[in-house]
C-alpha cells in the first residue's frame, strides 16, 4: 500500500511509495546479475559478459590483491602507522568490474575509497597511503594514471568529472564507441543527497557530457542508512534528470564490468551520461574511526558475507572453469607479496618538509609567502641541524 507524506493532505499530493528500507535479509533486489552468489553464470537480456575465463581469473586476482591491500592498510592503521583508513571491504567487485571496463584514455574521478579502481589504473598502492598517513594529499600524478586525486568533500568530484567530460567533448574526443573518450565519477549513496551531485547530473544531462556516474550504494553513509538518503531506488533518479539509470549487482564483478562497459560505450559514442547504481554492502566499518556495532545489525553483515564478491568468482572458477588449487595459491602468494611491499614502503615513507608545503600553495608564489617560508626555515634552523624534521 502506498503511503502519503506525513502532514500533507493525500488528496492534494500524489501518494509516495513507502520508503526503501535498510537491507533486509529476505528482500530481493532487482538488478543486473551475471554471476550468482553461488557462482552460477546467468544471462541477462540487455547485458552480456563478453570476456573469457582467463579474464575472470584476472578479475579474481585483482580483487584478491586489492582486498589484501585493504586488509594490510587496516592493520597498519591499527598499529599506528596510518591516521585513518577507509576500507573497501565488500566493494571489490564494484570497483574492479568498473575499473577494468575503462579504456586507456578514459578519466576517473574517485572519492576516498576507490583503492580498487586506483589499482586498475596502475596507481602504486603505496601512494594511496600517503593521504591516510598524513604525509601528503595524494602522491600520484593524476595525469600519469588518468586517476584524479582522492576527494574528501562528498560529491565535489562529480562536477569535476562532468567538467572534464565537457572538455573531452570540446576536444572532439567523443563520437566513436571504441576510440572515443569517457569520464567516470565514483561516489556513494550518501553523496547522492549532495547538491553537487545533483548539479552534476543536470550539467551532464543538458550538455550531453560523456560521463558515467558510478554510485556504489553500500547501504550506509557512516551511520545513516540508505532510507535517510532516498525514498526511491537511486538508479531511478537518473530518469528525472533525463538519462538512463541502471542497477547492477555490485558484488558481481562480471555484471559490474558489463554494465559499466556499456555505459562507457554510450558516453564515448556521444550518447551522454548514464547513472550506474552498484548495489553492494560495506562489510567493514565506514573508516577505522567508525564503530558500526552502534547502528548496524550483525545479521545484516552475516547475510552479506554470503554474497561475498570474491568467493562467488572462486566458486565459479573452481567448479565451472576447471581452475585448479595452484592458481588460487599463486594469487594468495602474490597478494602476500604486494602486502609485504606495501608495509615495507609505508614504514620507510619519509616525512615531508614544511618547506614543500609553502612551495605548492601557488604556482607563482607571492613574495609575502616566500618571506613566511624563510622565517619558518630560519626558526626551524635555530634549533640546530639535528632537530630538523624531528618532532
Amino acid at each position: 500500500m502506498s503511503e502519503s507524506v506525513p502532514g500533507l493532505a493525500p488528496e492534494v499530493f500524489a501518494p509516495v511509495e513507502a520508503p526503501v528500507s535498510p537491507p533486509q535479509a529476505s528482500e530481493e533486489v532487482e538488478f543486473v546479475q551475471l554471476l550468482t552468489p553461488e557462482g552460477e553464470r546467468v544471462e541477462h537480456p540487455d547485458f552480456a559478459f563478453d570476456l573469457d575465463d582467463e579474464a575472470i581469473k584476472g578479475f579474481y586476482r585483482d580483487m584478491t590483491i586489492v582486498r589484501r591491500i585493504d586488509t594490510e592498510a587496516t592493520a597498519l592503521q591499527r598499529q599506528g602507522e596510518l591516521g585513518l583508513w577507509a576500507s573497501l571491504l565488500g566493494q571489490e567487485a564494484a570497483q574492479i568490474g568498473s575499473g577494468r571496463a575503462l579504456n586507456a584514455k578514459d578519466m576517473v574521478f574517485p572519492t576516498y575509497r576507490e583503492h580498487g579502481v586506483a589499482y586498475c589504473q596502475g596507481v602504486d598502492p603505496l601512494n594511496l597511503l600517503g593521504l591516510f598517513r598524513g604525509v601528503d594529499q595524494g602522491a600520484w600524478d593524476p595525469r600519469d594514471n588518468n586517476f584524479h586525486l582522492y576527494t574528501i568533500v562528498i560529491g565535489a568530484q562529480t562536477l569535476h568529472a562532468t567538467g572534464y567530460a565537457m572538455g573531452q567533448q570540446r576536444d572532439h574526443a567523443v563520437g566513436d564507441p571504441d576510440t572515443g573518450e569517457a569520464t567516470i565519477a565514483y561516489f556513494g549513496d550518501g553523496a547522492s543527497s549532495q547538491g553537487d551531485v545533483n548539479e552534476a547530473f543536470i550539467y551532464a544531462s543538458v550538455f550531453n557530457a560523456p560521463v558515467v556516474f558510478f554510485c556504489q550504494n553500500n547501504q550506509w553513509a557512516i551511520s545513516e542508512p540508505i532510507d535517510r538518503q532516498t525514498r526511491i531506488p537511486l538508479y531511478q533518479r537518473a530518469a528525472g534528470f533525463g538519462f538512463p539509470g541502471v542497477r547492477v549487482d555490485g558484488n558481481d564483478v562480471l555484471a559490474t564490468y558489463a554494465v559499466t562497459q556499456q555505459a562507457l560505450k554510450r558516453a564515448r559514442e556521444g550518447s551522454g551520461p548514464t547513472l550506474v547504481e552498484a548495489y553492494t554492502y560495506r562489510m567493514g566499518a565506514h573508516t577505522t574511526s567508525d564503530d558500526p556495532t552502534k547502528y548496524r545489525l550483525s545479521e545484516d553483515l552475516e547475510y552479506w558475507k554470503l554474497k561475498d564478491p570474491i568467493e562467488r568468482v572462486k566458486a565459479y572458477l573452481a567448479r565451472s572453469a576447471g581452475v585448479g588449487q595452484d592458481f588460487f595459491a599463486e594469487v594468495e602468494a602474490e597478494a602476500d607479496q604486494v602486502a609485504a611491499e606495501l608495509r615495507r614502503g609505508c614504514l620507510a615513507m619519509p616525512d615531508p618538509t614544511m618547506t614543500d608545503f609553502f612551495q605548492h600553495a601557488y604556482v607563482d608564489m607571492p613574495d609575502e609567502l616566500a618571506v613566511q617560508r624563510d622565517q619558518y626555515a630560519a626558526y626551524a634552523a635555530s634549533f640546530g641541524a639535528d632537530s630538523e624534521g624531528e618532532g
Partner: protein, 325 residues
C-alpha cells in the same frame, strides 16, 4: 585611442584573451545571448560560439565545479558569478577545490580559472546584490584576489588574470561599469596584476582603496585640496597578495594612512593593512592607520546604502582624524 567604459574594457579584454588562446572559455548564467546581466560578455557568444561562451544551468557550484574539470582538461575557464551574494553556493568548490588543487597535488595540477564577481553597492539593488565579500576569498591560501578600479585596468587586468596559472577572484566594481576612460590597446599594461598603483601623488596622507572606492578617494583628494591637504591615493588593485612594498613606500613618504573599502570594518583588508603598516613602518607613523569602511552589519536595504557606504564626507572625516594626531 578609444573612450570605453569599465564594462566594455572587460568585454574587450575577454575578447582579446579568447582570440589569443582557444583554450579560454567563458561560462556563467545569462552570459550568452543576453551578454550577462551587466552586458559584460555582450557579443562574445555570437563570435566564439556556444562551446566557448557557455550559458550554464542556474547552479553556481556547478559553474565552478565543472570549470575545475575543464581546467584539468587543459582549458582556461572564466566564470561569471552574476552577483556577489550568489557566489556562496559555489564557495565550497572555490575554497576546497579551486584554491587547493595545486597544493593537494604537490604542484602537479594547476587551476587557471578566473572567477569574475561584480561586487559592491551603490546601485539601489535588492538584498544579496551589493556585497563586498573579498575578505572571505583573500583569507584562502591558493587564491589570488584582485579588483579593477578603472577601464584601462579592467581591460588589462582581466587578460592578466586569465593568463595567471593560479586561480584569480576578479572583483568588478559594478557601480563603476559605466565610468569611461581612454584606452590605447597598443600600449602594453603599465602594471603587473599584483602591483598597487599610485593614482595620485601626495605628501600629507595616503588613501588606500580599490574597486569602487578608487573614484571616491580621488574625489576626496580633490576636495581636500581646498583644505590645503595634499593626499596620495593608492589603488591597491590586488588584495591577495597585497602589494606591501607600494603600501610601505607610500606610508613612509606621507606618514599617515586611511584605508577605504566597502567591505565590513572588522577583519577586512583594512585591518590587515593597518597591522602590516604598524609592524613595518611604526617609526614612520605620525598617526594610527585608520579605516573608513562599511559597517559590521549585513548590507542594508538600498534606502540606507548612502549611510552604509564610505562616501566623500566619511573619507574626508577619516583624513581629518588622521591629520589630527
Amino acid at each position: 585611442m578609444t573612450k570605453i567604459s569599465l564594462g566594455k574594457g572587460i568585454n574587450k579584454g575577454l575578447r582579446a584573451a579568447m582570440e589569443n588562446d582557444s583554450k579560454v572559455l567563458v561560462m556563467g548564467e545569462d552570459i550568452g545571448k543576453l551578454g550577462g546581466v551587466f552586458r559584460v560578455t555582450e557579443g562574445l557568444q555570437k563570435d566564439f560560439g556556444e562551446d566557448r561562451v557557455i550559458d550554464t544551468p542556474l547552479a553556481e557550484s556547478g559553474i565552478i565545479g565543472t570549470a575545475v574539470g575543464l581546467a584539468l582538461r587543459g582549458y582556461r575557464p572564466v566564470c561569471e558569478i552574476q552577483f556577489d551574494g550568489f557566489v556562496f553556493p559555489a564557495y565550497d568548490q572555490i575554497i576546497n577545490q579551486v584554491a587547493k588543487m595545486h597544493y593537494r597535488s604537490m604542484g602537479k595540477l594547476r587551476m587557471p580559472i578566473v572567477i569574475r564577481i561584480p561586487f559592491g553597492g551603490g546601485i539601489g539593488a535588492v538584498e544579496h546584490h551589493s556585497e563586498s565579500p573579498e575578505t572571505l576569498f583573500a583569507h584562502v591560501a591558493g587564491l589570488k584576489v584582485v579588483a579593477c578600479g578603472d577601464p584601462v585596468d579592467a581591460y588589462w587586468m582581466i587578460q592578466q588574470a586569465i593568463s595567471s596559472d593560479d586561480p584569480v577572484i576578479f572583483f568588478e566594481p559594478k557601480r563603476r561599469y559605466h565610468e569611461k576612460a581612454e584606452l590605447d590597446e597598443s600600449v602594453p599594461p603599465a602594471y603587473p596584476l599584483h602591483q598597487a598603483k599610485v593614482v595620485r601623488e601626495g605628501t600629507d596622507a595616503t588613501l588606500f582603496c580599490y574597486g569602487p572606492m578608487v573614484k571616491t578617494c580621488l574625489q576626496a583628494a580633490e576636495a581636500a585640496v581646498e583644505d590645503g591637504r595634499d593626499l596620495e591615493v593608492v589603488d591597491l588593485r590586488t588584495i591577495s597578495p597585497l602589494d606591501l612594498r607600494t603600501i610601505f613606500d607610500s606610508v613612509k613618504k606621507t606618514r599617515r594612512a586611511v584605508v577605504v573599502h566597502e567591505a565590513p570594518y572588522s577583519l577586512g583588508p583594512g585591518s590587515e593593512i593597518a597591522a602590516r603598516v604598524t609592524e613595518e613602518c611604526f617609526y614612520h607613523l605620525e598617526a594610527p592607520v585608520l579605516r573608513v569602511t562599511g559597517y559590521d552589519t549585513p548590507y542594508p536595504p538600498s534606502r540606507m546604502e548612502e549611510e552604509y557606504l564610505p562616501d566623500l564626507d566619511r573619507v574626508l572625516d577619516g583624513v581629518d582624524r588622521v591629520m589630527g594626531y
